[in-house]
Symmetry: C2
Subunit: 202 residues, 2 copies
């Protein structure tokens, strides 16, 4: 007998999350099993139940970590670039980079939830991420870098654009490298619109 683990694991919750994250990345959310996680952590099959009410609670915790990470990488991009377009490219690159590195996690973060209580927390996380973006646009508006109008609506237009691209990448409907390579042009279209601009000779 190993006598290694002193009955109490020490930090089972964190160990389960790390293990779950690895499984999520390598085999997808569907292949995630609480019993398997327990086995990997070397505890009994019921032990995870002490830290997560049920499987969905563990997935929700993973999703919350995802939002924190996404906020972090986006936050770093917010300060980038001399002008607005460069900053927007940096933000787009950050979001798409997240989608490329953690496609399964992104999918998990934006999977429809049906439970009211978990939806509340995750909804708040979405609002945080989106709120930061909205403030960025409101600031840019004050500097005259973007059009007037409800900043929340403008932020939504930008967010939908980026999220759409990221979601298409995560779902393998779009080749990641191709999307990243064309990111500059993509952001240009977002900022300048699809209609011809007479002044766009530059």
């Amino acid at each position: 007998m190993p006598a290694s683990r002193p009955y109490h694991h020490g930090d089972l919750r964190a160990a389960l999350l790390r293990s779950a994250e690895r499984t999520l990345r390598e085999k997808g959310a569907g292949a995630l099993s609480l019993r398997e996680l327990a086995r990997e952590a070397g505890v009994s099959h019921a032990a995870p139940g002490r830290h997560f009410r049920d499987k969905q609670a563990l997935l929700d915790a993973l999703a919350m970590e995802g939002y924190e990470r996404l906020d972090r990488v986006l936050g770093e991009a917010y300060g980038a670039g001399p002008d607005f377009e460069r900053r927007m490219v940096a933000i787009a690159r950050a979001y798409l980079g997240f989608a490329v590195e953690h496609p399964e996690l992104l999918e998990l973060m934006f999977t429809r939830k049906h439970r009211p209580d978990s939806s509340a927390q995750l909804g708040a996380a979405v609002d945080r991420t989106f709120g930061a973006l909205t403030r960025l646009f409101a600031d840019a508006q004050e500097r005259g870098e973007i059009v007037a109008g409800d900043p929340e609506r403008i932020a939504l237009a930008a967010a939908a654009n980026l999220h759409g691209l990221a979601a298409l990448i995560a779902s393998c409907a779009l080749d990641a490298e191709e999307a990243v390579a064309g990111l500059d042009d993509h952001v240009h279209l977002l900022l300048h619109g699809l209609k011809p601009r007479p002044s766009d000779a530059a």
Copy 2:
């Protein structure tokens, strides 16, 4: 004994798909069980196996139906409106309408697949939907209604925008009514860009 069902169901495959669609809408993809579907159809628990190799095959079939429906509603919108912006609004309304009416199905259609064979069929379906949109933009380009450039890239910009909005609605991250109400403005931003246009006094 009922003597009702003559051993052979008649059209079990279709019955399973209809039943599955209902379950998907009412209880979500996670609650979908082949055995439960068999029970609803009044057949043995192994009968579905004759029509769908496994559970994923049934989900793939549902997703394929989803693409067909989406193509249909988008196709109807392609002919709408006198000018390009109206047509674009009609398309956006169609896509968002689909997302509002069948959020779980949309999620299923864009769920990451790991199996090569099913990915092929579904990938082709995505290409069809996207291809139609690309042709529409190529035509609009010839009429000078939108900017020059690779039509595929321009179509991607528009598709990402719409898909992002639809995905946010489907995942409950965005209120559906709010999004639909602001659709005109949203499309306007897509066409005219986020940067100020001197000529946009109109």
